[in-house]
């Protein structure tokens, strides 16, 4: 290294790099027959002494190079190699001194290692000259994009330094302060290269993630302020560059990646309100928020679609349905920007309001001009849509940001009004005139600024009402027959926003908050005119959308989701059912007439679900009766009228009849989807009547595959949504119905030969559905919410004897039906394959005693399936198969028959699992499942196991390895000799197995 000869130095560097690879626990390590434990010990010794020495040498070389001017090509190539080596050292995955064996294997897979060296590295890394060196190096080579990658990566690693290396907090503060100084000196006043963006944002992101808040705030105030200023500046600048990248449609979006990282860092930084005084970040938040908005608005307010020299580019590209919506694709960015908007609510909420209000007015004007033009010269198609599209895109982004700012998207939990928003509204409530606020809210058709006193209104409500104004312009354009000019995307944004808003704000539960803003509780609280009005308004919107936008599936879907939100909580549903419109909607849907019957089938199902959910709102008995008469009874009546006709058999192929049947089956799926614990009793009884009739339909439509498919789907849905709530006798009814369904299916399809082109596809779909059905039925064994009383009643002796069908019977019958139809070709469909293995594993786990009773053919194919799953399918399937083996082996042990086919089969599986654990490259995720299966199999076949061990040992040439293997095998079984199926022994064995794996793995 010190020779000064580039060739020799290159060689030295290569040797060191190779050494590092061998000692690291990564996939680069070659297979030289070290046990993992031994390897771990070597690594530990290496990292304390040699690694540090390598690092020091590297640092010396880098120092040397950084001092020189004018490096020639050969020299700079050597320089680059040593820089890469330094990076490798700093990315070392340090093993802590005392770490249990089984963690060693785990460490291998972790990526993005943070720098957490042991104490012995203290002097080396805390020496401020080291850090300075890397800043110096970077300044020197930053224009070389390859080398800059490495130098920035080194700095990012140093930015993640943590752990025992710091003797106390003070040293951590010093280190951080020093680092930030170096960073600011390096990037302030320079123009950042494209290739630096990601690296720099990684450095900042590491600093913010790794250093605790109290350390961050302990650095000198001025320095911290400069750091946050710099972060703000970089965020805005990367955001602008990211927007440019989008315009140029670049493949490699480096600024977008860097921007994402910085926005995420902001989220981490501002979510802590303990260490920073209130308002500390407000000004920065304003800047980042403004720049985000600016990048997303069209000129003149913004810079969207402008290239660097200010030229607008606009192209109409084809967007496929697979393209994610912006609200999902940019959800992380939007969440950060929304959070910053909350922090700076004083600025951001009025800003969004005025931008939206202004655009609503412009949109309204623009549409009016189009209308006049159309009236003046109908048929003229020379309308330039550029202006409209720009407005739509502006509104699109404004609504997305508003949605993320005002509310969170929660799954399963009750979303709360963000505290910043609540405080903001409360703070200003004394200056607010409630009546004017309600007026602004309640008159979406009027310009906000035309209402006297409009500036003394609650800003949050005014922002909501700005979105309602957009919605109103849309509705009016529809009434004026301008639907073709509207943007379905904007329509989607509106209902998406309203749904998100309604979940959080509509009928706020005051118990959930310490204090509540008066304008909020007056406008959207329980028992207020405001909430009744807004529910009516939303409902009107839903109905209008469903009739106008049936051809825009996504929009219709978002719309119907809004409807579900309105009725899924009892408090809101109570108000919804008071609207006449709701009843009209129910009647209209029940009549199956246009436009609602134009909706796509998933939308119709969800609509049905919403209508059913609404029926569980609070109503007096008479009203309730009437409601079900409107919603569910027509379904039943129409259906019975059709199928009970004398000549139904002859008419069944008529188009109207088929449509009626399809619509009914679709509706049944929707009803099943509406199941909740408190309505299951009613819905189950209702659906059960249909299921019986559906079996009759299976017979009638036996030659109509699409109908058969839909009938099975109804059963799948009912089982999926309801089985977990059913008591024993009800569950029995469902089992019986399913069994009959399968029998009819089997009878009609046995020996059937089809030539039509879609035969294979249809059969695949049937099989998939049947497997889903069986899996759903089995799931009762894991998830059961049924009333325990009823379960106990089912165990009374008299009733138990009457049991006609058990889940096992249905499922095994089903498997019997499916197995002959399954082929290796069909298993190439991944969904089908996973569903199949899930099903057979469930069966082995739940009914192991039934397996030996299976007919021979069925038994054989089941065993073959398991073997196939273990050896040549995905690791997920392999895991499932391993899980199936344990109960099978236990079953054998219980039965104590040594010549049964199952016993013989398990002997074969012992060898398979043995090979998997000992001989093949082992997947550590599988150790537990494989270990459990292995142990039970060993218990069952002790002699065979010894034989396997003997064979393996006798093939060993090397006496050292022989001895180690033999010792390892002895230790493995030492704690459990003789092995018995006892939990304690099994646990002991599993523990020894981990040790065993660490010891012989790789041998």
């Amino acid at each position: 290294i010190s020779s000064g000869n580039p060739t020799v130095q290159t060689l030295a560097c290569s040797i060191l790099t190779a050494l590092l690879s061998e000692f690291s626990s990564s996939s680069k390590t070659s297979n030289i027959g070290l046990s993992m434990e031994f390897h771990g010990n070597c690594k530990r010794v290496f990292q304390e002494e040699d690694l540090r020495q390598i690092f020091m040498l590297t640092v010396e070389v880098l120092q040397e190079f950084s001092r020189r001017e004018n490096l020639n090509a050969q020299m700079s190539s050597v320089f680059q190699r040593y820089l890469a080596l330094a990076n490798q050292v700093l990315s070392w995955n340090f093993l802590p001194p005392n770490l249990g064996r089984h963690y060693i294997a785990m460490f291998e897979s972790s990526q993005n290692v943070l720098l957490k060296p042991t104490e012995s590295w203290r002097e080396t890394l805390l020496d401020s000259r080291v850090m300075e060196l890397f800043f110096t190096v970077h300044r020197k080579i930053r224009e070389d994009s390859d080398m800059a990658q490495d130098s920035l990566q080194c700095l990012a690693q140093l930015a993640s330094l943590h752990g025992p290396i710091f003797p106390d907090e003070g040293s951590q503060v010093d280190y951080l302060a020093h680092f930030i100084e170096g960073l600011l000196n390096t990037i302030n006043g320079i123009e950042i290269e494209d290739s630096e963006a990601v690296g720099i944002s990684s450095i900042i992101s590491n600093l913010i993630t790794v250093f605790p808040r109290n350390v961050l705030t302990a650095i000198p105030n001025e320095l911290f302020s400069s750091f946050v200023n710099c972060l703000t500046h970089l965020t805005c600048s990367f955001g602008r560059s990211a927007a440019l990248e989008e315009v140029l449609d670049k493949d490699d979006m480096v600024y977008m990646e860097a921007y994402d990282k910085l926005l995420e860092s902001w989220l981490t930084l501002v979510q802590d309100d303990k260490h920073f005084h209130k308002g500390f970040f407000t000004q920065h938040a304003v800047q980042v928020f403004n720049s985000y908005i600016q990048c997303h608005l069209a000129a003149p307010d913004g810079t969207r679609n402008l290239t660097a020299n200010g030229v607008a580019s606009r192209e109409e590209e084809e967007i496929s349905e697979l393209q994610e919506d912006d609200r999902d694709q940019f959800s992380d960015q939007l969440a950060s920007v929304g959070m910053l908007g909350r922090i700076a609510a004083e600025h951001c909420i009025p800003l969004l309001t005025s931008l939206l209000e202004e655009r609503v007015t412009r949109l309204h004007g623009q549409l009016q001009r189009h209308q006049q033009q159309l009236l003046a010269s109908p048929g003229s198609s020379t309308i330039d849509n550029k202006m409209l599209d720009d407005l739509y895109e502006d509104i699109h982004w404004l609504i997305l940001v508003t949605g993320y700012l005002l509310a969170d998207d929660t799954q399963g939990e009750t979303p709360l009004i963000p505290p910043e928003i609540m405080e903001y509204s409360i703070k200003h409530s004394s200056e607010v005139d409630i009546n004017t606020t309600l007026q602004i809210l309640g008159s979406p058709g009027e310009k906000a600024s035309s209402i006297p006193g409009y500036n003394r209104t609650d800003s949050v409500i005014r922002l909501l009402s700005a979105v309602l104004r957009v919605s109103e312009v849309e509705s009016r354009a529809i009434r004026a027959d301008l639907t073709h000019l509207l943007s379905p995307q904007m329509g989607k944004d509106i209902v998406w926003f309203l749904k998100r808003w309604a979940k959080t704000y509509l009928l706020v539960d005051e118990k959930l908050y310490d204090q509540i803003s008066l304008p909020f509780s007056t406008a959207f609280g329980a028992d207020t005119e405001g909430s009744q009005w807004i529910i009516g308004y939303l409902l009107q919107k839903v109905i209008s959308n469903l009739s106008v936008w049936s051809s825009e599936q996504d929009l219709a879907n978002d719309t119907v989701q809004l409807l579900v939100t309105l009725v899924e909580r009892r408090e809101r549903a109570n108000l919804v059912i008071q609207c006449e419109n709701w009843w009209n909607l129910a009647k209209q849907f029940a009549s199956r007439s246009p436009p609602l019957n134009f909706l796509s089938s998933p939308v119709q199902r969800t609509l049905m679900k919403a209508l059913v959910l609404g029926g569980f709102a609070h109503m007096d008995t008479e009203t309730k009766q009437q409601y079900w008469t409107e919603v569910l009874q027509p379904l039943q009546q129409r259906f019975l009228r059709v199928i009970n006709q004398e000549n139904f058999q002859q008419m069944c192929q008529q188009e109207e009849v088929k449509q009626e049947i399809t619509a009914t089956l679709e509706a049944l799926c929707g009803i099943a989807e509406a199941t909740q614990i408190d309505n299951v009793a009613i819905l189950f009884n209702f659906l059960m009547d249909f299921l019986t009739n559906c079996i009759g339909l299976m017979e009638v439509y036996k030659n109509t595959p699409e109908t058969v498919n839909l009938i099975i789907e109804v059963f799948v849905e009912v089982a999926h949504k309801q089985i977990c709530y059913l008591g024993e006798s009800k569950a029995m009814n469902l089992y019986e119905a399913c069994l009959t369904l399968l029998q009819v299916y089997s009878k009609n399809n046995l020996g059937r030969q089809r030539i039509d082109v879609t035969a294979e596809e249809e059969q695949y779909q049937d099989l998939l559905l049947i497997m889903e059905l069986l899996t759903n039925l089995l799931s009762k064994e894991f998830i059961d919410f049924s009333d325990t009383d009823e379960v106990f009643r089912g165990h009374e002796p008299g009733q138990a004897a009457n049991r006609s069908v058990s889940a096992a019977d249905v499922v095994l019958y089903g498997v019997n039906l499916i197995l002959p139809l399954m082929s290796q070709d069909l298993l190439k469909f991944p969904t089908l394959c996973n569903q199949y293995y899930k099903l057979i594993t469930f069966i082995c786990e739940i009914f192991p005693e039934k397996i030996p009773q299976l007919p021979e053919d069925l038994f054989k194919s089941l065993m073959y399936s398991l073997e196939l799953g273990m050896t040549s399918m995905s690791s997920e399937v392999c895991q499932l198969c391993l899980e199936a083996l344990t109960p099978l082996a236990e079953q054998c042990a219980k039965a104590q028959e040594t010549d049964s086919p199952l016993f013989l089969a398990t002997r074969h599986f012992l060898k398979l699992v043995f090979d998997m654990l000992v001989l093949q490259k082992h997947n550590t995720e599988m150790t537990t499942a494989a270990g459990e299966a292995f142990y039970t199999l060993v218990c069952l076949h002790q002699a065979e196991y010894s034989e396997l061990v003997e064979t393996l040992l006798s093939s060993q040439q090397d006496p050292v390895i022989y001895q180690r293997l033999a010792d390892a095998f002895n230790k493995l079984t030492a704690s459990s000799t003789p092995p018995t199926l006892d939990r304690k022994q099994k646990m002991a064995f599993l523990k020894s197995l981990e040790e065993f794996m660490a010891n012989v793995g790789g041998l």
Partner: protein, 129 residues
């Protein structure tokens, strides 16, 4: 509404929909539907793209099962449910035709499924009974 697994007329032929996807021109454009269908009689593939507001023709498909009585001059004699005999349907070509002939010659009872759409009619499946 059209649905996957449903039927549609493409280029004047009755087709089963095997693929249905949407796209739009520009973010604020209206949806267009891209349909791929397979001719239910010939197996030929047809595609079409149209605005999602467009009305599409849907063929009426009827399926009937008949008892096979005999095969004569390449035509099937079939017994309908109402007791009439149809003799206007050809013995299908290929695998299925051979299968029908084989079963008939072996004296097995066979039920033939016949599919009818847009005034075309063919035997498409058999089932022993």
């Amino acid at each position: 509404a059209l649905r996957k697994n449903g039927f549609v007329v493409l280029k004047g032929r009755p087709c089963k929909i095997v693929e249905m996807s949407t796209s739009k021109t520009g973010k604020h454009g209206h949806a267009k539907v891209h349909l791929v269908g397979i001719d239910i009689f010939t197996g030929k593939k047809y595609e079409d793209i149209c605005p999602s507001t467009h009305n599409m023709d849907v063929p009426n498909i009827k399926r009937n099962d008949y008892q096979l009585i005999c095969i004569q001059d390449g035509y099937l004699s079939l017994l309908t449910e109402t007791g009439e005999v149809r003799e206007d349907l050809k013995l299908p070509e290929g695998e299925l035709g051979k299968e029908i002939e084989g079963k008939y010659n072996a004296g097995e009872d066979v039920q033939v499924s016949v599919m009818c759409a847009m005034s075309e009619e063919y035997a498409v499946a058999i089932k022993p009974c």
